[in-house]
């Protein structure tokens, strides 16, 4: 874990007052998540945190023996907000396994659908779920002095977004009554219309298949998307400066806020948006076509790019059981000893893993979660990579590789430039996302807004390319294929909240092994066998407490901001404990009878 020197931390010999609190379930996320913490109210920081997920469904088990062509229809159902990312990732894995390369048009349609997903999903999460943690009502209830300060602080970008003070921005985020909150809901709807144009239905697409799409490419299809996209571009020109004002204010109003949710910079991004000019879905060319993706895959360690090679990324994935409710698969069958390039594939790699559930009582000393602990092995250490909720890792990885340059977006080596064209009310606008100093709650949240703009930029480019195909008469979007008796496949993309991989082994024409690895297990996992905490645990441990309420009416807003910055998305509740020294008193315990 990252060890942080925090303002106010002392080596006082006085027994500190440790307090336990609990929330279960955590609200305003997708799924159910549990986090248990101990807080030192004298030192004003969280000293311990455990993260637990409370649902098991068993996809890898019930997919065995099924038709491989059904994989994306089934795996889409893993997630109710980004199921289409699973659908898409599964289609990529099938394309590799079946040896099929979709027509260009099919890829542009999928890219447009996935871009709409990022635009929708980041938007609703940022304004209607995370945003509430920064709204007037919440700030007044947790930090009245910050609210007073916000009323007196002029918003630097007021001339763009129209909110005079920071307090006005916070008021606009109040649930239902806030105008920006309500506008965001509306925007989440027309962006889902954009999505449905390309992939049929949100959230489980109807028109995606291995080999491409069933969506029929017409002038109307793309024009319908275009007109909505330009409304979104207009909105982005307001949304980005508004969030910069809000987030910058927190650093200014609460010095030390950069440590909330901070952890070592250990980010993973598996890349998104294929370029059909290069992507043939073969494993042996994966390094090359991976680097042509419009969001560049990469692993960022301590702010430096470690690799952007998808083959190397793939081979480094290790699934540790940690403190989860599963039996080990020692003695079970190994499906792949070597990859097609001759590289050894580890026993703990998704291609070779087995899911063996054993329901147990929850016990923090032993097993306490339905989430396993994925790690990335760099040759020495099993690194607990996180995705930071997706956007920050995508921007960071893309920025450092410096490979993307399509006009609307450009990676510079240390930043990403987004060029948005003229729209109804405004002229062209350029934004630049610069690699931040920290991997923390505020920067994860800020990156989310910037990535919305990045997605809009990419969508503009994909539309140009789709129209180019259409005008040339190349409207086919699907390519026939046959299912081989024996095959394997892997798909890599970015779910909205981060890295997503699907690994499939086919035997006798049926699924012999299938393991999806979505972002939340990477972020929300329990301690592994080496004792390394999962990223939520790590980011919350050591988080300073700025909330002005004492233990009696403590809400835990700083902890919630830390956790929600990762955009948790799993069937998981957050628990917290307050107490002192030895006798830990449980204040907000779910065990107590409620009044």
């Amino acid at each position: 874990m990252a060890v942080k020197d925090l303002p106010g931390s002392t080596t006082s010999t006085q027994p500190s007052r440790l307090v336990e609190m609990s929330w279960d379930p955590i609200t305003r996320i997708v799924g159910s998540l549990g986090i248990y913490t101990k807080i030192d109210f004298q030192e004003r920081k969280v000293v311990e945190c455990h993260s637990t997920s409370s649902i098991f469904r068993g996809y890898s088990i019930f997919m065995k023996g099924k038709d491989p062509r059904d994989a994306h229809f089934i795996t889409s159902r893993i997630c109710g907000i980004c199921g289409d990312n699973h659908c898409c990732c599964s289609v990529y894995a099938q394309n590799m396994a079946f040896g099929v390369k979709p027509p260009h048009m099919g890829e542009w349609i999928i890219n447009l659908g996935e871009a709409a997903e990022y635009m929708f999903d980041h938007n609703i999460f940022q304004e209607n779920l995370v945003g509430v943690d920064f709204c007037e009502q919440m700030v007044r209830e947790t930090n009245p002095s910050v609210w007073e300060k916000a009323k007196k602080t002029e918003a630097p970008n007021a001339h763009i977004h129209g909110y005079k003070t920071i307090a006005d921005i916070m008021t606009s985020l109040n649930p239902f009554s806030g105008d920006f909150y309500r506008q965001a809901l509306q925007i989440s709807r027309y962006t889902r219309e954009m999505f449905c144009l390309m992939e049929g239905r949100h959230v489980h697409p109807s028109t995606l298949y291995a080999g491409g799409t069933g969506t029929v490419a017409t002038v109307q299809l793309f024009t319908d998307y275009y007109s909505r996209l330009m409304r979104y571009v207009e909105y982005m020109k307001v949304c980005v400066p508004l969030h910069d004002d809000l987030f910058d204010f927190f650093y200014q109003a609460l010095p030390g806020y950069e440590h909330v949710g901070e952890r070592r910079i250990l980010l993973g991004c598996w890349g998104a948006f294929q370029d059909p000019d290069y992507c043939d879905f073969t494993y042996k060319n994966m390094t090359n076509w991976g680097r042509k993706m419009f969001v560049t895959p990469g692993i960022v360690i301590d702010g430096k790019l470690h690799t952007n090679d998808l083959v190397q990324i793939n081979l480094g994935i290790r699934i540790l059981l940690g403190h989860s409710y599963y039996n080990d698969w020692e003695g079970e069958e190994t499906f792949m000893e070597r990859d097609p390039l001759g590289n050894p594939v580890d026993r703990r790699h998704p291609w070779n893993m087995h899911t063996l559930p054993t329901p147990k009582k929850r016990d923090f000393a032993n097993q306490y979660s339905w989430v396993m602990s994925p790690r990335w092995f760099d040759g020495k250490d099993h690194l607990a990579l996180d995705t930071g909720g997706g956007a920050i890792a995508r921007l960071w990885s893309t920025a450092l590789s410096g490979l993307v340059d399509i006009g609307y977006v450009k990676a510079t080596g240390n930043s990403v430039i987004i060029n948005l064209p003229k729209s109804v009310l405004t002229g062209p606008v350029t934004f630049e996302w610069k690699t931040p100093k920290w991997s923390n709650a505020i920067e994860r949240d800020r990156a989310r807004t910037y990535f919305q703009a990045y997605s809009a930029g990419c969508a503009l480019y994909f539309l140009d390319k789709a129209f180019e195909e259409l005008r040339a008469g190349r409207t086919r979007s699907w390519e026939p294929f046959t299912v081989p008796k024996e095959a394997f496949g892997c798909g890599f993309t970015e779910a909205v909240r981060g890295v997503l991989s699907h690994h499939m082994v086919i035997r006798d024409g049926k699924i012999a092994n299938y393991h999806p690895w979505p972002p939340t297990p990477w972020n929300g996992n329990p301690r592994d066998k080496y004792g390394t905490p999962g990223p939520y645990e790590d980011a919350v441990q050591g988080t300073p407490i700025f909330e002005e309420n004492g233990p009696d009416n403590f809400k835990g807003i700083d902890i919630m901001r830390a956790v929600r910055s990762f955009d948790p998305c799993l069937p998981c509740g957050v628990h917290m404990y307050l107490g002192d020294g030895k006798t830990i008193e449980t204040v907000h315990s779910p065990l107590s009878p409620f009044g």
Binding site: W23, D24, I26, T27, I29, V30, G31, S32, S54, I55, F56, R57, I61, G65, D67, R69, D70, I74, R77, C79, G80, G83, N128, L129, V132, Q137, L185, S188, R189, R192, E193, F195, C196, G200, R201, H202, V203, H204, S206, G211, G214, T215, V216, A217, D224, N327, P357, T358, K361, R362, S477, P480, I557, P571, G573, V574, P590, P593, F594, G595
Partner: protein, 338 residues
């Protein structure tokens, strides 16, 4: 009547993806804001206890409503269940699902225990999405959790304290407006404005689920002309490529998905029967031509009673769940725990 306060208690902690909660945020006819803020005539006062958009940070502050409801302090309330119900009796210890902790213990409270506590007190119980209604994807053959739907768990003949059968709004996920419209209807009923909600034999609102996909599909004209798609990116009728539209009860091709945009076979996606009790097993492999489609598509020129009779037979089959979705201590899905 407008002073009635109806609490809506929503538990998404079945074996679920939360896709039906997410779908509700995109409904436009009506929107969730309109329902929550009482912006439609005839609505009672409504208080949602719904994790996805709840203001509170969670935990006790959020859960206390559920315990109040159990004590009869929040009447009348609608209990909404999202996700399939795992069979918690097939294992020695632990939990498949959890939603808060069980009072007096440090262990999660399972969905089935919540249902046992709350369903008898509820004014109405609503299953949202195919998982909650009939079991859905997580109740597929070979599943380890013994997952089932509300109808299997509470019984197909179950009725609430107000005499209302389980209200089922299937779909994987649910079509957004189908859900918000059904909630609106129930709230009107709770306020004494609408009569008993008309449901079919599988608990579905009749006005939404009485027609088949095919009957509402704008590609049905190709079917009539015997002109079938041979490839998935064709604009013609998809029945030979795996579309089950002729025997699936669902209004999506007619209604579209979000704001009338999108859908399934109408926009190039085969119908995989996701609203049906027999989903997914009776429709797999999804991309094969459905049995019976060959004959009916060959003779589509000779229509009439014969085709309708054949379809009715298939509808009856796919309108029933597979036999392994049930309560009890035995797991019969085919999965063998090691």
């Amino acid at each position: 009547m407008a002073d009635t306060l109806v609490n809506v208690l929503w538990i998404p902690a079945g074996l679920s993806c939360d896709g039906d909660s997410v779908a509700l945020t995109s409904a436009m006819q009506p929107t969730i804001e309109e329902i929550a803020l009482g912006a439609l005539p005839g609505l009672p006062k409504v208080r949602f206890h719904w994790p996805l958009i709840e203001y509170s940070l969670g935990g006790q502050e959020f859960l206390q409503a559920f315990f109040k409801a159990e004590r009869g302090e929040l009447d009348p309330f609608v209990l909404v269940i999202e996700g399939s119900i795992a069979n918690e009796s097939i294992k020695k210890e632990g939990y498949w699902t959890g939603f808060g902790n069980k009072p007096g213990t440090d262990q999660p409270m399972t969905l089935s225990e919540w249902i046992d506590r709350l369903a008898p007190k509820a004014w109405a119980v609503m299953g949202v999405g195919t998982c909650a209604t009939y079991g859905g994807i997580h109740a597929m053959a070979g599943n380890p959790t013994g997952a089932m739907g509300l109808l299997d768990y509470l019984g197909w003949d179950w009725k609430s304290s107000a005499g209302i059968p389980i209200v089922c709004v299937p779909g994987c996920p649910i079509q957004p407006d189908n859900l918000s419209e059904t909630i609106l209807y129930l709230l009107w009923q709770a306020n004494g404005i609408a009569p008993m909600i008309p449901l079919d034999e599988a608990g579905r609102p009749q006005w939404l689920f009485s027609a088949t996909v095919h009957e509402g599909c704008d590609r049905a004209g190709y079917y009539e002309q015997g002109d079938f798609a041979e490839e998935y990116d064709s604009p013609k009728c998809l029945v030979k490529l795996g579309c089950w539209g002729p025997v699936v009860k669902c209004n999506v091709p007619k209604r579209g998905w979000t704001g009338g945009v999108g859908g399934c076979p109408n926009v190039g996606g085969i119908c995989i029967g996701c609203t049906m009790p027999g989903f997914p097993d009776k429709f797999m492999p999804f991309m094969d031509e459905p049995p019976g489609a060959k004959i009916s598509s060959t003779v589509s020129g000779v229509y009439g009673n014969v085709i309708r009779a054949m379809r009715n037979f298939t509808i009856q089959t796919v309108d029933q769940e597979p036999k392994w979705r049930h309560k009890g201590r035995e797991l019969t899905t085919g999965y063998r725990p090691r």
